[in-house]
């Protein structure tokens, strides 16, 4: 996993609540058996005027000029600003894969759906929860300043604005550690293999039916 330490980037605003993972990456692209290559189809139904197909060339497709990521002022955006309950719906990890593949490193919103939030941390993408009024203020700042950028320092847990405001955010200590260092948490869990074996032995005694081989 790609580590996240300090990142500065252009902010793109997605001004609607309840952005679901079907919207982030529609189902036809979930047929891929790879982890990469989803970026060109991020927000496919909002971004293009026609229906996208998996494994197709997207370069000649008609773009929706009204969609935020198609506007020149947000070219190269790497911080996504969103409203409440971002990432709701399907558990598809293809959603963070698509955001990351497009070039996003962080998403800022007042709230996230649980599964999406968790999936982000496995993929070097930092979801940041900020109070609604702060997010509102950022939407206004982005609208008012072309090329508006934010700097995010994970170690210090700060979002830094161009006018030198430092906005603190919370992050789970373990997830922060893994993300700062780009760690694979399977390796970390396997360090506890003895504890897992001990748990299994105890469960086999008091709930043996959980270990039946099946039909």
């Amino acid at each position: 996993m790609r580590a996240f330490t300090v990142h500065t980037g252009v902010v793109a605003p997605m001004d609607r609540p309840n952005i679901d993972t079907d919207m982030i990456i529609p189902k036809q692209f979930l047929k891929s058996i790879k982890r990469s290559g989803f970026g060109p189809n991020l927000f496919d139904e909002l971004r293009y005027l026609d229906e996208g197909q998996p494994d197709a060339d997207n370069s000649g497709r008609p773009l929706n000029p009204d969609f935020v990521l198609n506007q020149p002022r947000y070219a190269g955006a790497s911080v996504l600003l969103a409203r409440e309950n971002f990432g709701c719906g399907s558990s598809r990890e293809h959603a963070p894969w698509a955001l990351e593949d497009y070039g996003f490193r962080a998403v800022i919103a007042p709230s996230f759906a649980d599964i999406f939030f968790n999936n982000c941390f496995k993929n070097g993408l930092l979801p940041i929860i900020l109070p609604e009024n702060v997010v509102d203020g950022l939407f206004k700042a982005v609208a008012g300043t072309e090329g508006y950028q934010l700097t995010i320092d994970l170690d210090k847990q700060l979002v830094m604005t161009p006018d030198d405001q430092d906005i603190p955010f919370e992050v789970d200590a373990f997830r922060k550690h893994c993300l700062l260092n780009g760690l694979d948490d399977i390796g970390l869990t396997l360090q506890d293999a003895d504890d897992i074996h001990a748990y299994e032995e105890q469960r086999k005694q008091n709930a043996p039916w959980l270990f039946n081989a099946g039909a």
Binding site: I33, E93, T189
Partner: protein, 472 residues
Amino acid sequence: MAGKTLYDKLWEQHVVKERDDGTALIYIDRQLLHEVTSPQAFEGLRLAGRQPWRLSANLATPDHNVSTDAGERAGGINGIQDPVSRIQVKTLDDNCHDFGITQFDMKDKRQGIVHVVGPEQGATLPGMTIVCGDSHTATHGALAALAHGIGTSEVEHVLATQCLIQRKMKNLLIKVEGELGAAITGKDVVLHVTGVIGTAGGTGYAMEFGGSAIRSMSMEGRMSMCNMAIEAGARVGMVAFDEITADYVKGRPFAPTEAQWEAAVAAWQDLVSDDDAVFDKVVDIKAEDIKPQVTWGTSPEMVTTIDGTVPTLDDARDDVERSAFKRAYEYMGLEAGQKITDIQLDRVFIGSCTNSRIEDLRQAADVAKGRKVAGSIKQAMVVPGSGLVKEQAEAEGLDKIFLEAGFEWREPGCSMCLAMNSDKLGAGEHCASTSNRNFEGRQGYGGRTHLVSPAMAAAAAIAGHFVDVREF
């Protein structure tokens, strides 16, 4: 000391190790696998040179991509016409063979939607922790289990370690007291709840459904309800263990037998929230207040009753919701104030992990019996949740009722719930659907989904528009 909730108990029974930072290593008893969210997990295992921790904890079946057309199905994997879908189903097959994981493949009559197959086989049992790379894993909580959806990285984590690193959620009780009216199902209850608390109302919570209305609800109804806990933001939906649970599980292929059954049932008696348990939030609902539900918009919280109307902008709670309403009117092709019964339909879909079990099909067949699908309906399809549900329905003659009424009788799979196979809506088409999500494009590019119960969907197919099944 205060008593414990069902969730507290399930959590405590599965803690392998507490960590200093407040997270815990939680043991997973069962992982269900399907073709869409597992290939990258198996690839990860291979790249790291790892093996599954405990093979027998895993059970796989293809469901999202499989065709529900009998002709296309007859060819097995090689018969799948879409080459991208075919590769994905083949990849699951190869991975199960390579790693030695039990799979109900396309030709196995036990194949079906993972969330139908697990309980049907007794592969998901009370007291278990159950995960699957699918958000509707909450379904299995209906059996007093701790079940939730995970992403592909965690699928790989569970394959490799049989554990997940988790932080304990908060406790939410949805208390439905009283008696549900005629034709009111678990689907109506959960849609009503979503309308009350919103799609983020359950975020961060494990949601238990309790109260007298739930105690008298069938297992199928409980599964439909827990299935959609995620639509109200909760990863976990649960119902306490009782006699209805035990009766459902007994005799299923993976269920314990004889002395082990007795021991299991004795242990399962404790899978209830204690009388003095403290919940972080309680939502009280009167069963009598719940009418047949129909969604009008593009989020499950955009729901109203069959005698209702599309809400107006004045009904929105703030500017953010007002703009969401405007988008939804436009996408759905509806006007504020329009009567729900005036919405004309193009297609009807009865199926999905929410509503494709035998009871769902019986309820729909009861309505369809002796009637005909309206001429204005382009397609009305019934897709059983598994090969065994299909077999049971055919033994009861339900297939004939549907066929005589003009419905299509299909092979099992996820089908038009998310349109990863060829079952999909055309742009602008309105569909009465027993599935779980009315998101933009969910059932097909530009498609317009209205979520309802199976009986409501069947009645809508006959009338050509929504009607109150209680007066039908």
